[in-house]
Amino acid sequence: MRAPITDLPVMFDSVTVRAGATTIIDRLTLTLASGSPTFVVGPNGAGKSTLLRLCMGLARPTEGQMTWGGRTDPKPTRRALVFQRPVMLRRTASANVAYGLTHADYPREKVAARTVELLERVGLSELAMRPARRLSGGEQQRLALARALARDPELLLLDEPTASLDPAATRSVEEIVRAAAQSGIKIVMASHDLGQVRRLAGEVVFMLRGAVLERTLADDFLKNPSTPEAAAFVRGDLVV
């Protein structure tokens, strides 16, 4: 038996990320623990995606420290990331999910049954044998969610998963995310859709130019944001 390893909380200790002369994340200190869904909100270029990549361990701090459940090893044990444009492996939908399970060390003899369950959970049972790359954008995003859930995550990171989807597809993705949150998975989702924040978020982390300006409950953020930048963003003014 493996000791139960946890990835939570994820702690950022004055983390800076630079690419050449550009500072993408600027001395960010933040703790993400279990609880209601956290929405990372802000204009394009605020550093939302980099924050999620740091959480996942795909990007490394230029300066500062990060820990996952107290460990400094970024190996993604109990977390998963769904990209804005997920890469579908050149196989069937079902094989994509099975791939995720296999690489999360799921017991080999149970992979087939679990794949069926996960596809059902995201409403893709009927498309199981379709080539993944032939699915629509919304279906691909749902498949990516199934593949991420295959990792049995405690922490599910989502990078604007509905940014290029129509309302119907957005709704089905949101339903899956909501169900995942209710089952106890910590959701950290980047978005710049305030309607989505209203529908799903428990708390909001408002980012601008690589720094966290505000962290409050979603309701408070939407009704009376405390910084002028956040107020402008909520009003729909252009914030850069």
């Binding site: 990549r53 996942m56 361990g57 795909l58 190996k75 993604p76 044990t77 998963a80 990331l81 990209f83 997920p86 890469v87 579908m88 492996l89 050149r90 196989r91 069937t92 791939y99 995720g100 690489h103 999360a104 080539p131 993944a132 790359r133 032939r134 593949r147 990792r151």
Partner: protein, 230 residues
């Protein structure tokens, strides 16, 4: 004109000598492709996914070796396998085995270079997703090779085309022995110089037809599997 007519007669009457030559050529070149694929595919993939000092030099070298002259490869293998050579004790010079080895060496760089390029491009697309799924180095190589399978089929075809068409290497290490190591290309060269143009032409037609048929089959397989897996 008359030569062409005679060539057709040889083919359509199922001339035994002609078909023995065709069979040997196919056996040698297909075995060489299988052998070269076992070396070239992993080599290309590893080259695509690793970085080490001197990697650029290796990439340039592999690319350059795509154009190796078959006679030079033949000569090198000849020197290795000849009685006084380092591998002379094997006693395989002037056998089909030696021809397979020579052709495989000739096409390993083609398969490795095309594989490297394909896998490198696919890795750019897959890197984040595979890292997020915590896929280890071995899993990366196998995943990328499998997901690039349709493109890699083209690399194998390029290798087969080169092996089936070359004459220099098999001539030197096989010796063009009648009924034993005579392939289509060496037979064409010999029969042409002897003035037996019908047989030479017949062999030429069969060779081109085989290359066409294999490419058509590969194309069909590609279209089919694209429909299966996108």
């Amino acid at each position: 004109m008359l030569d062409g007519l005679n060539a057709w007669q040889l083919i359509s009457s199922g001339d035994a000598a002609l078909f023995a030559i065709v069979k040997l050529s196919l056996a040698v070149s297909l075995s060489a492709v299988v052998l070269a694929a076992c070396i070239g595919l992993p080599l290309g993939a590893i080259l695509a996914l690793t970085s080490f000092p001197g990697r650029s030099a290796v990439v340039v070298l592999v690319n350059a070796f795509m154009g190796l002259p078959p006679v030079v490869v033949g000569l090198a293998v000849f020197l290795l396998l000849s009685r006084s050579g380092p591998l002379g004790d094997l006693g395989i010079l002037f056998t089909p085995t030696a021809m397979i080895v020579a052709q495989a060496l000739l096409i390993v760089p083609i398969i490795a270079a095309l594989t490297r390029q394909t896998i490198e491009d696919l890795w750019i697309e897959y890197r984040d997703e595979l890292s997020a799924m915590d896929v280890g180095p071995f899993g990366r190589v196998t995943t990328l090779l499998w997901d690039a399978r349709l493109s890699l089929l083209t690399a194998l075809l390029a290798g087969f085309g080169r092996a089936a068409a070359e004459v220099g290497a098999v001539m030197i290490v096989g010796g063009n022995i009648d009924g034993f190591t005579r392939t289509m290309t060496t037979a064409i060269a010999l029969e042409t110089s002897k003035g037996n143009l019908p047989l030479a032409l017949g062999l030429g037609i069969v060779l081109v037809a085989i290359v066409l048929a294999i490419n058509a089959a590969a194309w069909g397989a590609r279209v089919w599997s694209e429909r299966q897996a996108g």
